[in-house]
Structure formats: structure tokens, C-alpha cells
Point group: C2
């Protein structure tokens, strides 16, 4: 237990400092080689990588549409219901985020518009690993579908000659995705960024991944003009604020559901009650013993701290300084504090709102800024699949009046040609009379 | 003149290819040294740089507020009116972009919210150079003001012991900016990113600049967790689409108003009429002779092309492929084509809507994605000064029902602790009965 008020400012800062994440120079070099290979050799580079890294023999890169359509037959009723419900809730919440164009005259004859345009081609990466991640398909695929993007590509690795898990395929089908690429890692990112014979080139790449995926996303965003990525990646985090009447078993379960994500996950508890902290520590030990991923969770707990604060108000100050990806409020009444929430990716209010609800099915997005980026970056939302541009239409009279603002500014900034583009039009208007 | 349909696909691509912009390794090395210096030595590093690079003797870094407040006394009536009008129009257009929170139940007992939070501390960089750029203050400062950011810092270089131009100070005053730092280049970016004794640390840095400023912005965004920048930088561009009844003098004036920005600016004309192209070429020569910045404009014209297309529809296809920062439509009736606009930063419709209107005063923002980034990035808008986060509040009954979606997904993804965080609560609910 770390007693906030008894520690120095330095110790306070240290306890909130995240473990440094520095990609090795080696990963950058290897990613650059993979990018160059895929750019030059397209599909054949992807097939060679599938053989080498994923132990595959089949040269297949694209999942046939009938496999996507038939996947649901392999799902249990319960899992199908779960995917359907998660899809519906995520769709409902993100549909409400649909942007509206703006149109107004700033002064007579000067019409200004802000318009939204769906990003034309988007790529979604879904990591492989020990288990399939259908939730990752839903959290990104629904938004692509709602945006109306013309091209949506999903890429995910396959280990050996296994096919892609039907839960992934069914989630993709619900999202209307018909282009699924059996390819992973930096190669898959390169394929979507440059395009290959089988993989359409996209404009923006979404999705989490290992250090190769993260590095490849950064490299394509830095080197290909017009290419964008979703947000900076980092290890997952949760911060729980709990008062004296919170349930330590619930707190421990929430901390562990974050800790099992990865050894680099960080979990923090802030409470104004020493007893709650002590009991949470006990509950962590008990619950940990029964987890299949207890080794991972144990490592993550080593980066993590239970902190005693003076007051719940102080807890919100500390949380704002840390800027957690997930913020769980197990408080008798969180309402008076909600306005004090700052720099959080997603907030879970009350004893019966575990993080796993948002991870899977409540409707909010589970792609969230982490590693301190919640000070500036948004949780993934529908606007991430759109861009805005402006349109202006000015009448002759509008320009005559507006010239009184343009000409002195152009003169002050020493830009003759800017002034001339207006003056030459004013002359034409005067000559018409 | 380049006849689109008579050229190979390769030649077509070549004519739309932007000149490569690669920052030299030398600039990266020098920027890193400046960043480290400012991080370690704060104000004294900035003062040393002001003496070295800006030829200054005075150690002053911060403009006293009374200087900001009194600046308008030095302005001509015309310039004050121009700044007031530009400020009012930009404010009117961006105020309409104010975001609204969203709150809805995705299913009974599952309340989801999307909330907007102003980015707390923002930095605005305004480049120095041969003339002051009050428009750059307005285009960024109004948005910071409308967002309600708690801290707004403006940094701009001063050459020698001259004070900052009163047009800059007055524009800043209108935008409610009280912290103005007399510092430029990578040092100013570092000061806002790390904070110094005089300069508040910010979370997001906006604004154009030279290759040092651009490199410093990239470096702080890559290395400081939570730090963000506005958008990738690149040379300025305009693409004009003109039909057979367009005015070649207007076209030439618009091309030149872009060309005078810098030697690396790119200007393109697409027309379906050979005569218009020939006359525009003549008008360019005539108008160029009278410009104070004709050397710059001449260099820019060397990167630029007048292209004959088959039809106006083809012009829009070519424009979408190029993705211009500014798109000017000098068409008899642009309306039927407006839905074909893709990948443009800002669009100027009709013969009497020159780019300089949007650069200064129509109300739209002049900070726009360039260098192909208009496929994915937005024109600067009010949301760039906000972030979104989500909040969910789930009732006991809500969680019981939602668990049917969460538990099978957690099982499918092999995440026990995620399931446990739900099951442990369901048990508690059942035990209450």
C-alpha cells in the first residue's frame, strides 16, 4: 500500500510512471525490410511470410465469401447470441454519433459549409494469439460499416493451416465485411498500406497488435503521404476509485480482468479506506489462484499499486494526473464526482459496471487511448472513420464586402498575389456596371 | 500543357506526384539537441537560442499583458476592421461546430454516454518570417478560445529586439490569449512540450513552421506520452477546375496566390478547354511581373502543371486522385459536381470565391491537410481542440441481461478474469434475494 500524502512529490510521480515502452531498433529494421518486401513483391511476399512465420503451407490469402457466410453454423447458440447482442449495442451507440453537415452564412453573401466524408478505404487488423478476438472485429467493423466506407479490409493471422475462427468470420459478416485477408504482423499492415494483387490499398489502418504491428503502423503513417492510423498504441491500464463501502471482491476481479491482458498491463487502485485496500489485496491472492492466465496477471500486478488517498476528491486529482485508459468508479454515489473526471478513455460507474461490460457488449468502444494519451486522444468513435472538409461560396456582393477584411490582412502579411486575386475580381465587378 | 488522355498512366501519375519532402538527418539531430537543451535548462536555453538564432539581446521571453492589451492603438482603422471581421466570421463558423454529448440506453439498464472534454492546455505556434501572420493567430486562437481550454500558449519568434507585431498581439487579444512567448523554432516547440519556468507545458501543439518546427513537433509527439500535434505538415497546394467560360485572369490570380506562398508550393489547373489553358498561361506571365514575391512564385510554377482534360467529370476524378489542399471550382454551375468532390481540404465555389477569402476571412479554417493527407485528415475544426470519452452505468438487472453477451465472448477469447468480474457480481445479486 502506498500512502499518497505521506510520500514526496517525486515518489508520487514515480508510482504513476508507466513502464517505458521502447521499440527496439531491431524491430524497426526488420519491419522496414518487411514493408519493402511487400511493397516490391505483393502477394508472393505475404505467402512466403505465412510459410515462415505462421507455419502455413497453403498459399491462400483471401477467405472465400461463402466461408464467411457459413461461419455462423459452427457457433453455439450462446456465442451467436452474444455476438449478435454486442454487435447491436455497439451499433446503437455509434449510430448516434453520426455527424451532421453544417451550413451557414458568416456574413451576407458568404456561405460556409462543413462537410463530412467517409474515409474511402479502411483496414482493420485483428491480432491472432492464443484465442480468437471477435470483439475486436465488432469494435472496429461496426464503425466502418456505419461510415459507409467503400472498401473495408480485415486482416488477421492464421496459425498453421487452421482456418480463421468462425466467431471472427461471423462478426465480420454482421459488419458487412467481405474482404478478409489471412495474414498477420507487419506483412499484413504493409499489404493494406501499399495494396497487393489480393489486398486492396487502404487510406487508414485501425487495430491493435504486437510490437511489429505497432511499428509497421507507425512506419507506414510516417512514410506514405495520406496514410493514417487510429491512435498511438500502448499497454492496457485500469484505475479503480473505491470508497469505504465498495466490495473488495469486485475491485479485485476488475483489477485482475485488466491484469490478465498482458504482463505489461498496469492496474491501480485509489481508495480513501485502508480496510478496503487490505481486503482487496487478500481477494487478489484468492482470485488469482483460479485464473488460467495467472502467470500473466501476476507479472502485471508487479507494475501495479494500491494507493491510499486522503479523500475521493484527491483520488480524482491523482486519476487525472495519471490519465487511465479505463476508470472504474465503485462509489456509493459517483454523480457528484463525474464532472471531475479528466483524461480517462472510458468510465465505468457503480458497483455493477465491470470493465468487461465495455470490453464486450455495453455499446461503448473498447479501443481507447492508453499510456497517457487520454489527455489528448479520443476513445475510438464514428468520426475516426470520417474526415471533414469545408466549402465556401461567395457572391459578388459578398466578396465586395469581404474584401474589406481580406485586403488589409493580405497587405499586412505582404502577400500581393493574395490581394490581387480579390482586386482583379472587384475590378471585373465594377466594369460590369 | 499536359493532355491527360494522350498520356500514359505512368505519365499521369508522374504529373500528380508531389516533390519529395524529406527532412535531412541533420535537422533531426539538431532538433534532438535543442529538445534536450530546453528540457534540461528551460528558460535559459530559450534565451541563449534567442541570442544565437534571432540576434536578440533582451532576455525577455513573455510579452507583458498590458502590451497585448494596448497593441490595437498601433493599428490602422482598416487593419483593425479586417482583423475584427476575420475574427467574427471564423468564430461564427467554428461556434456552429460545438459538439454535443450523447446519452442513450443500448438495452434496459445499460446507459452509455459519449462526452466531449476540451484539451486542457494547448500551444499555438505562429511562424515569423518577412511579415507578421495575424491570420495564423485567428485560425488557431479562435478555436482554442471556443473550446474553453484552461491554458493557451502562443509562441512566435522575434527578430532582433523588435517587439511582436501589434497585428499579432491584437489578434491574440481578441482570442483571449494572455500567454505569448517570444521564442521560435524547435526551441519554442520544446518549451511548450516540456514546460519551462516561463512557459506552461501543453498537451497539444498546433501551427505551421519551417522544417525545424515540423521536425520538433514530430519528435515531441513521438516521444512524450500523451503529447499530440495538429496534423502532418507539407507544402501548400491549389488545384483549379475551370470550364470554357471561366475567366483566365481569375484563374491565373488564384494560381499565383498559392504560388507566392513558397517555392515548394504546387499549383494545378484542370480544364476541358484548350483556349482557357492558353490564356491562363498568358495571364500568369503578365500578372507575375507585378508581384513582389515573383521569384518565389516563379519557382513554385516550375512544380506546376496546366492539364487539359476530356470533361469536367474527368477533372473531378483527377482531383480526387491528387487530393488537393485547396480546390477552386470556376464552373458555370458547380452544383451538379459538388457530390463528386473527394479528398479536398477546402473548396472554393464559383468565380467570386478566391482562395484568399478562405485564407483570411470567410470563416472557414485555413489550416488544411496537404501533401495527400486530405484523403484521411480533416481541415482544422473545433473538434481538434476536444477529445471524447465514454461513460457507462449499468444496473443490476442490466448486468444480468448483458452477462448473456459478455460471458460467452469472454469464454471464446479465453479471458477468465473478464468473465469472473461479471460472475462474481451475478453471485452477489443472487445472494441478495
Amino acid at each position: 500500500m502506498f500512502c499518497w500524502n505521506e510520500e514526496t512529490k517525486q515518489a508520487q510521480q514515480a508510482v504513476l510512471t508507466r513502464p517505458a515502452v521502447t521499440a527496439s531498433e531491431d524491430i524497426a529494421v526488420r519491419c522496414k525490410a518487411i514493408l519493402a518486401d511487400v511493397k516490391a513483391n505483393g502477394d508472393s511476399a505475404l505467402i512466403a511470410m505465412a510459410k515462415k512465420f505462421d507455419n502455413r503451407e497453403t498459399p491462400r490469402l483471401v477467405v472465400p465469401v461463402n466461408e464467411i457466410n457459413q461461419a455462423e453454423q459452427a457457433l453455439s447458440t450462446e456465442l451467436k447470441y452474444a455476438i449478435d447482442t454486442a454487435y447491436a449495442n455497439v451499433k446503437r451507440f455509434h449510430q448516434a454519433q453520426r455527424p451532421k453537415d453544417i451550413k451557414l452564412s458568416t456574413q451576407p453573401g458568404v456561405l460556409c459549409e462543413l462537410k463530412y466524408q467517409a474515409i474511402e478505404a479502411v483496414g482493420i487488423y485483428v491480432p491472432g494469439g492464443s484465442a480468437p478476438l471477435p470483439s475486436s472485429v465488432i469494435m472496429q467493423g461496426v464503425l466502418a460499416q456505419l461510415s459507409g466506407a467503400a472498401t473495408v479490409v480485415l486482416a488477421t493471422p492464421v496459425q498453421g493451416d487452421a482456418s480463421i475462427n468462425p466467431a471472427i468470420l461471423y462478426a465480420a459478416k454482421l459488419c458487412g465485411i467481405t474482404t478478409i485477408i489471412e495474414s498477420g504482423g507487419a506483412g499484413a499492415i504493409a499489404a493494406m498500406a501499399y495494396g497487393t494483387e489480393s489486398v486492396p490499398k487502404v487510406n487508414k489502418i485501425f487495430g491493435p497488435g504486437n510490437s511489429f504491428v505497432t511499428m509497421a503502423k507507425q512506419l507506414v503513417a510516417q512514410t506514405i503521404p495520406g496514410m493514417a492510423i487510429d491512435m498511438p498504441a500502448g499497454p492496457s491500464e485500469v484505475l479503480v476509485i473505491a470508497d469505504e463501502r465498495a466490495n473488495p471482491e469486485f475491485i479485485a476481479a476488475d483489477l485482475l480482468s485488466q491484469a490478465e491482458h498482458g504482463a505489461d498491463s498496469q492496474v491501480i487502485l485509489l481508495s480513501n479506506c485502508e480496510r478496503i485496500i487490505a481486503r482487496t489485496e487478500q481477494a487478489l491472492t484468492t482470485q488469482l489462484a483460479n485464473l488460467s492466465r495467472r502467470d500473466t496477471a501476476t507479472k502485471a500486478l508487479a507494475n501495479s499499486t494500491l494507493i491510499l488517498v486522503d479523500s475521493i476528491t484527491q483520488a480524482f486529482t491523482v486519476s487525472a494526473e495519471y490519465g487511465p485508459e479505463h476508470l472504474i468508479l465503485q462509489l456509493a454515489d459517483a454523480n457528484p464526482y463525474l464532472d471531475q473526471v479528466k483524461n480517462a478513455g472510458s468510465v465505468f460507474v457503480g458497483d455493477y459496471t465491470p470493465e468487461s461490460a465495455g470490453d464486450y457488449a455495453s455499446g461503448t468502444n473498447h479501443v481507447l487511448p492508453t499510456y497517457g494519451y487520454s489527455a489528448t486522444y479520443s476513445s475510438l468513435n464514428l468520426l475516426d472513420f470520417f474526415r471533414t472538409y469545408t466549402v465556401q461560396t461567395i457572391s459578388k456582393n459578398g466578396l465586395r464586402e469581404l474584401s474589406k477584411a481580406i485586403l488589409p490582412l493580405a497587405a499586412a502579411e505582404g502577400l500581393d498575389a493574395h490581394a490581387n486575386a480579390v482586386s482583379i475580381r472587384l475590378e471585373a465587378i465594377n466594369n460590369e456596371r
